[in-house]
Amino acid sequence: MTEPRPDCRPVAVIDIGASAIRLRIAEIGADGVVRSLESLQQAVPLGKDTFTTGRIQNATIEQCVKALRDFRRIMTEYGVTREDQIRAVATSALREAENRTAVVDRLYMSTQINVEVIEGAEENRLTYIAVQEVLEQEGKRKVKDAIIVEVGGGSTELLLLQEGRITFAHSYRLGGLRMRESLETYRAPADRVRSILEQHIKRTVDQVHRITPVDRVPHLIAVSGDAQFAASLLASDWADVRVSRLESAAFTALAEKLVPLPVDDLVREYRIPYQEAETIGPGLLAYAHLARAFQVKELIVPKCSLRDGLLREMAARGAWTQEYTDQILHSALALGRKYEIDEKHAGHVAALSVQLFRELRPEHQLDQRFELLLQMAALLHEVGNFISDRSHHKHSMYIIQNSELFGLTRRDILLISLVARYHRRALPRPYHTEFQTVDRDSRIAVLKLAAILRVADALERNHLQLVRDLSFAREKNQLVMTVHGVNDLTLERLALKEKGNMFEEVYGLKPVLRAARTSREVSSGG
């Protein structure tokens, strides 16, 4: 009777922010198009707790439990029940709470919703995914140079877009609610609110401006509820568009007008929830200052949020678009340049690594994400040289670990750093603490990737990018790599002997180099 259901997946994303928990239920069509079905939000004072006392109070936890239980009920109505249909993330307010683990566990126990506390960088990445989707639809007017800024309740995420590439990403502890709370903690008198806020914002903005690689950008893409509120007041067509462009001057004037208004007045006048009214003043002021510092002409407000990013990612089922992969690789390259790596060498090792990764797919069984991680590790394996040639693999590890790479989670970055660390010298040992902190699957992945990186690095021992044309064959327990166009492979063979042991241990194949007799015999590998 019932016709077969095509692939329409109902999913839900939950965003636990500083002042509210928000749910979006959506449906992902067979074509990957996301269709929103319901949006819900409940006010929860997580930020108030964290930014004043450092921990989430029990009463607040119970409010979260209640909200998530309500959400769970609505999700069930749409058949969203399995864990793979739900993604719940929490941002700065929970991230900075001392008792975050206890909170997450309590939420899981009572609601079976697994809340993932995400880092600023991850927030940044998700925001970018959301923004990118909206901006793509702008067509010709696509913005290529801009700062993308999300002034949230507890943190500000900033991305620098140059020539359509992300060249810089950073997260700051500047947030609308955080500012509001500190004002209240110090019982700032009403007439001084404005100047205290300004000083605070100015300090952070100066710092942002100093460390961002450019002094001025034409556009500021403002992503937050506060910014959308401003757009709804300034743009007459706000209801009908997905993106609004606002002149800096008008935006600043509005911010100046709203900052001194008491929260109660905002609620009454604009019919918005209290928790939103609390952050509007500081939030808009922060954008206005950033706009001034970077001499921005136009603010661009897209109608999107972290939740759109989460949904878009779920729609892609974890597979990253080429554009997005390019952005990530570009951020690695930008980091590499900062540490003066040999770009040609790094790029070549990366290319060889990819070739090997693809050839060995039957053996390692790793998905495409790991190819990207390997590429990143290859690009960055020598950043440690900036500090010292001795033990540069260890320097590489901690430089990578302590960098913000756009688009990657902390865990991804940790894996990349480990792969880079094991590109030479010692194999993982029980006393290598970083290696031991990751889970078993990740450890195995690190071994598989590092083994490839070592072979690729050996093939590029002379830093001259000679080994370009490779073909592969498996003979008995050997992986025979036939090199075309190079006659003398002595140096490479020596390097392989030194570095190939890990590959043999991991894959059970001994890597062997062979020079092709004629210019070209077989072509495979790809």
Binding site: M1, T2, E3, R5, P6, C8, P10, A20, L23, E27, G29, R35, S36, L37, E38, S39, L40, Q41, Q42, A43, D70, F71, R73, I74, T76, E77, Y78, G79, R271, P273
Partner: protein, 737 residues
């Protein structure tokens, strides 16, 4: 002007008292009295004028006899509610020492005086209508009320048996020791006050007893008679045999009386979680609340009356001496008497809407098109069908509905319970605060919960008045939501008596808005912005003001400005002021306000461009429809909200734009028809009086309700003919894609 209108104007003499001066804020905002032009009409007096219009229908010889009786009964029950709620409320205000001014410039005590004066006139007219017109005509038609003195011996014997077997066992006389120890009688019931002679001849102290007449006894005792309906009132039967209750005592007097108690008990729900328990508390508390009206048969002696007034603490102005039977509302039972078809209206039976075939799946229909129904001309059946089909459809995931004043044996309630037992997620918001239906509400709710329906008991502090039903269904191309927005309740009985609009759609934005709205009132979510609809108490008032203002701005810029609105009540001072401003700017404003209207139309430099009509006809006008010209691209809405402060500020209401071209046109046509009515429409005059609309020249009067009924029937017949003439390809059963 015909005879009826003459009657109306003769009663309208007291109306100028409704004049007052400018108020501020909502209807409750006090203003300083003083000499000034009155911008507002007093809402209580305006309401009484509405009841007077209903009474006109009872007096209208053009209306079939039993319909006239029905209208008379309605004026009775209307007055009962008015006294319990409005007079009760004013009385409470006064007792709390709040003798403030209303927007019309009347103090609370002045309002009570004016109400009393106008109501006394109305009551006189009610009884004039019953005793001098309807009784006479009914007797001629074969329906006759006999007084005890008119009984023949056989009838007397029959009644004696009835008294012995059915009445005597269930009545209990209560002796009254003194006026201070008067028993606590429930409001609205008929009682008999019995005065007994003093025990000793020397004593001057009369003795009294009260016989409360149980409400479950039939008020009208039918006497055996062939081809006629002869009846005696229950209180007359008891009076006839009352001596049996006091054996050996001489009865000096036996007189019926009825009291009305204040019902406006504030439910303090924010202090107690269990709303249900609290409501039961209210039902009990109502018995103890103050007396706001005493009705007594005018045969009462001054001795007995003095006693009664002392015992019940009734001021002069709250006393109504009536020359006929008490509790006219009860006569609605007589109006429904089987047979006597000559005395009743011809049936205007609800018609199947032409765009929906009887066998259609409502899901298919709504996937194809939006549907707008105007009840009761269009049948309510498609709405019921939608819920019933949802209950049985394997692809339906969830049903969410707001229920308010529904009936216990409602097929919708049954369908919801069935859906829940079939594993669908069914959420029902039940509004327990529907004033006089509380007992009924609680009963059917009890039936839903065991079936697994998630029942949510209203919202703290806010009454949910919006009518909405959402069905979430999984379909081939994804989840689709089917939504019903209504201006009336999900009650099949009232759906046959009230005019209401249903708008059914599966349009995505409406579905999203409807679920958002639902999540807000269940407390699952804070209010988030809507795409199309607007909801009270958050945005509806502002949206209305914005719509009115934008017509005004267009007018000021030389465009045409035109507003049409059909609502039940117009009280809100802020909205009225906005309408005045718009009128002043040249916007043409046509209002069709069935009941209370505090706006004063047609006043120079204030409201010269505003006309207000009111239609009182066979069906109770209940739909709320709004039209804004909007530069030619008209915006048309349906709404659950009247323009009263309580609806805009303290209730959960919806304003729903109707954008579908055919549906929108149907609403516009409907509004035009209402304003064309010259049969049952009355025009509100600047002084607060209502005057019947006259057909222009010698043309025939246009009766909008009859026209709607004819149209619906013609459309249904046409559709039937079309169907018979075409062979339709058989559609697969499940062709929603």
């Amino acid at each position: 002007m015909d005879k009826r209108a003459g009657l109306a104007s003769s009663r309208g003499s007291g109306v100028p008292a409704a004049m007052g001066r400018t108020g501020r804020g909502g209807d409750a905002a006090p203003t300083k009295a003083g000499a000034a032009t009155a911008q507002f009409l007093n809402r209580e007096l305006s309401w009484l004028e509405f009841n007077a219009r209903v009474l006109e229908e009872a007096l209208d010889p053009g209306v079939p006899l039993l319909e006239r009786l029905k209208f008379l009964a309605i004026t009775g029950s209307n007055l009962d509610e008015f006294f319990m709620v409005r007079v009760g409320g004013l009385q409470q205000l006064l007792e709390q020492g709040k003798n403030t001014f209303d927007p019309a410039g009347l103090t609370t005590s002045r309002q009570l005086q004016e109400i009393s004066r106008r109501t006394h006139q109305l009551v006189a007219d009610q009884y004039g209508c019953l005793l001098h017109e309807l009784d006479v005509l009914m007797k001629a038609a074969g329906i006759e009320r006999l007084a005890a003195s008119q009984l023949d011996p056989a009838q007397h014997e029959y009644l004696e048996r009835t008294f012995d077997n059915e009445i005597y066992p269930v009545i209990t006389p209560v002796a009254i020791e003194s006026a201070a120890k008067f028993p606590l009688l429930p409001g609205l019931g008929v009682n008999l006050l019995i005065r007994l002679a003093p025990v000793r001849v020397a004593s001057r102290r009369h003795r009294y007893a009260v016989v409360p007449i149980p409400r479950r006894l039939n008020r009208f005792i039918t006497l055996p008679a062939k081809g006629r309906h002869t009846y005696v009132l229950l209180e007359d039967v008891i009076t006839t045999f009352a001596h049996r209750l006091f054996p050996g005592e001489p009865l000096l007097e036996c007189v019926p009386f009825r009291l009305t108690r204040n019902a406006d008990m504030t439910v303090r729900e924010d202090q107690a979680g269990d709303l249900l328990g609290q409501m039961r508390g209210v039902l009990d508390a109502r018995k103890r609340s103050a007396c706001v009206r005493l009705e007594v048969n005018d045969h009462i002696t001054t001795t007995a009356l003095r006693f009664l007034r002392t015992a019940l603490h009734v001021r002069e102005d709250l006393l109504y001496l009536v020359p006929g039977p008490l509790d006219l509302a009860a006569f609605s039972a007589l109006a429904r008497l089987p047979g006597f078809d000559d005395c009743k209206e011809q049936s205007w039976s609800p018609q199947p809407p032409p765009q929906i075939r009887p066998t259609d799946s409502m899901f298919d229909v709504l996937t194809r098109q939006d549907v707008l129904l105007y009840h009761p001309y269009d049948s309510f059946e498609p709405v019921v069908r939608l819920v019933e089909q949802a209950a049985d459809d394997p692809d339906v995931l969830a049903i969410k509905q707001i229920l308010y004043r529904t009936s216990a044996n409602s097929p919708i309630v049954a369908a919801l319970a069935r859906a829940a037992t079939k594993g669908k997620h069914v959420t029902v918001i039940v509004e327990l605060k529907a004033r006089f239906d509380e007992a009924r509400n609680i009963d059917w709710v009890r039936a839903l919960e065991p079936a697994g329906v998630n029942v949510i008991y209203g919202l703290a502090r806010l009454k949910v008045h919006a009518k909405i039903c959402i069905i979430v269904r999984r379909e081939a191309d994804g989840v689709r939501r089917y939504v019903h927005f209504g201006t009336g309740n999900y009650n099949e009985v009232t759906a046959g008596l009230y005019t209401d609009v249903s708008f059914l759609t599966s349009h995505e934005d409406y579905g999203a808005d409807a679920t958002t709205f639902f999540n807000t009132i269940t407390g699952f979510s804070q209010p988030v912005r809507y795409k199309k609809v607007e909801a009270a108490p958050i945005g509806l008032r502002a949206r209305l003001l914005e719509l009115i203002e934008s017509e005004m701005l267009r007018c000021q810029q030389g465009q045409k400005g035109h507003i049409m609105a059909k609502i039940n009540s117009l009280v809100d001072a802020e909205i009225i002021r906005a309408l005045y401003k718009a009128s002043h700017a040249g916007v043409k404003i046509q209002l069709n306000v069935r009941g209370i209207c505090c706006l004063r139309p047609g006043v120079a430099r204030l409201s010269e461009n505003i006309t207000v009509t009111s239609i009182v006809d066979r069906f109770l006008e209940h739909a709320r429809i709004l039209y804004f010209h909007h530069g030619g691209d008209a915006l048309v809405f349906i709404s659950s909200a009247d323009w009263m402060p309580r609806n805009l500020d303290r209730r959960v209401e919806l304003l729903v734009p109707v954008e579908d071209a055919a549906s929108r046109q149907k609403l516009i046509d409907l509004l035009h028809a209402c304003f064309r009515d010259t049969a049952k429409a009355r025009l509100l005059q600047p002084d607060g009086r209502y005057v019947r609309a006259e057909p222009p020249g010698s043309t025939k009067a246009f009766r909008s309700q009859a026209a709607f009924s004819d149209q619906a029937r013609a459309a249904a017949q046409q559709a039937q003919r079309d169907r018979n003439q075409t062979f339709e390809p058989q559609r697969p059963a499940n062709s929603s894609a």
